[in-house]
């Protein structure tokens, strides 16, 4: 049985939060712009809409290809995403994953999607390895 108190407080909280819900449509995340357009037509490496909905599938596929088979193509490489999408702020510093200014978290914070990519991967662009001389 619900007590009167519970019902009243539930109603009250709904009323309190209603304006926020009503505004939600206008509160889209501000996603930082990429440094370059990978492809003039699709803008990103694929159509932006496809990337928004399916980037995790591409990344997961590439993850296994690289880890298990040593396939190091750039198209779906996480490092390439980071290089192009994580930009510097006014002070010349890269945002960290978790900040609203970081490309990935700008949207993930909004959508409340928790990922663990950056527990191991660097969340900022870094200089790539100098490859050694030719195999002996």
């Amino acid at each position: 049985m619900l007590s009167h108190k519970t019902i009243i407080s539930t109603l009250l909280s709904i009323l309190l939060f209603l304006p926020v819900f009503a505004q939600a449509d206008n509160l889209m995340p501000t996603v930082p712009k990429a440094k370059a357009k990978a492809n003039p037509e699709t803008l990103c490496v694929r159509d932006v809409k496809v990337m928004r909905t399916n980037h995790m599938e591409f990344l997961m596929h590439q993850r296994d290809e690289t880890m298990r088979k040593g396939i190091r193509t750039k198209k779906d490489s996480l490092a390439e995403c980071i290089t192009c999408h994580v930009s510097k702020d006014d002070e010349g510093k890269f945002a960290s994953y978790g900040d609203d200014e970081h490309f990935c978290s700008s949207c993930h914070n909004y959508a409340a999607v928790k990922i663990d990519c950056f527990d191991c991967h660097n969340d900022k662009p870094t200089a790539a390895s100098k490859t050694g001389s030719t195999v002996k």
Binding site: G70, T73, I82, D119, C120, H121, S129, G132, K136
Partner: protein, 259 residues
């Protein structure tokens, strides 16, 4: 201690992909096959998977390895962002911190003879770490490089217990500023990757490069399946022993000069 390496296929069916194919395995000596392999190491296109055509290995000459020199260790740290290079493991005790490659001093108590050698993951053909891993995170690539897939590793550390060479480390703390090609993170196990990111790019491991740069030339890297590679020729001519050869792991890292 130099005993021939048997590729005993009946012993284990764990390795679905045979090391050299039936003919070479029947020939018995796994390190100097050549007969099946006509293709010589060349730059692998980025979209091509690694294959059993190659087996990458290292040959370390302890006579050339200078005691007190740690160029290989430092180079590995710089390349892969561990140890002194990455200060993230500040709370871990020295014994808990990651070590991918270490310099070991061997002293014969009888004679007093001292020698020094780098010890790292031996990239076993039959890796005990892979045998015991409950998740499939520890695995051997087709080209013989043994890795940890940290996406899958649950940090149980069975592999660390199973490895006879103390080659693996567990990460106890949040890691920051990783190298882009060497992701590292809390709760997972890691070890030498034989610089797979360089090898896939036709490069050589950072340790070997550093040893050469120091002028010691104590390490060779190359394809053990290519009979024309420097490493294969050197092994065929002068041999190279496995550490703990009695375990029959057919290690990809071989040593010369251990007395």
């Amino acid at each position: 201690m130099t005993q021939p390496v048997n590729t005993n296929e009946t012993k284990t069916d764990l390795y679905r992909r045979q090391f050299l194919g039936k003919t070479a395995a029947a020939a018995g000596f796994a390190l100097a096959p050549g007969m099946l392999l006509t293709e010589i190491a060349h730059a692998k296109p980025a979209d091509e998977a690694v294959s059993t055509k190659n087996r990458w290995g290292l040959l370390i000459n302890t006579n050339k390895c200078a005691s007190g020199c740690t160029a290989c260790v430092t180079a590995c740290q710089v390349e892969n962002g561990w140890g002194e290079i990455n200060k993230s493991e500040e709370l871990s005790r020295a014994s808990q911190k990651a070590v991918w490659i270490r310099k070991v001093k061997l002293k014969d108590k009888q004679t007093g003879h001292v020698q020094s050698l780098p010890l790292l993951c031996q990239h076993c053909e039959k890796p005990p770490c892979v045998d015991v891993c409950p998740t499939g995170a520890s695995f051997k690539r087709e080209d013989g490089i043994v890795l940890v897939d940290k996406h899958i590793c649950i940090g149980c550390r069975y592999c660390m217990m199973a490895c006879p060479y103390k080659a693996r480390s567990f990460i106890h703390e949040t890691i920051k500023n990783q190298k882009v090609h060497a992701p590292r993170g809390k709760g997972t196990v890691e070890s030498c990757t034989m610089c797979a990111h360089r090898v896939d790019n036709d490069g050589i491991p950072a340790c070997v490069e550093a040893c050469n740069a120091e002028g010691h030339q104590a390490m060779y890297f190359g394809d053990l399946k290519d009979s024309n590679s420097v490493i294969s020729k050197e092994l065929a001519k002068n041999g190279g022993q496995q550490l703990r050869a009695d375990l029959d792991l057919n290690t990809g890292v071989r040593y010369q000069g251990i007395k």
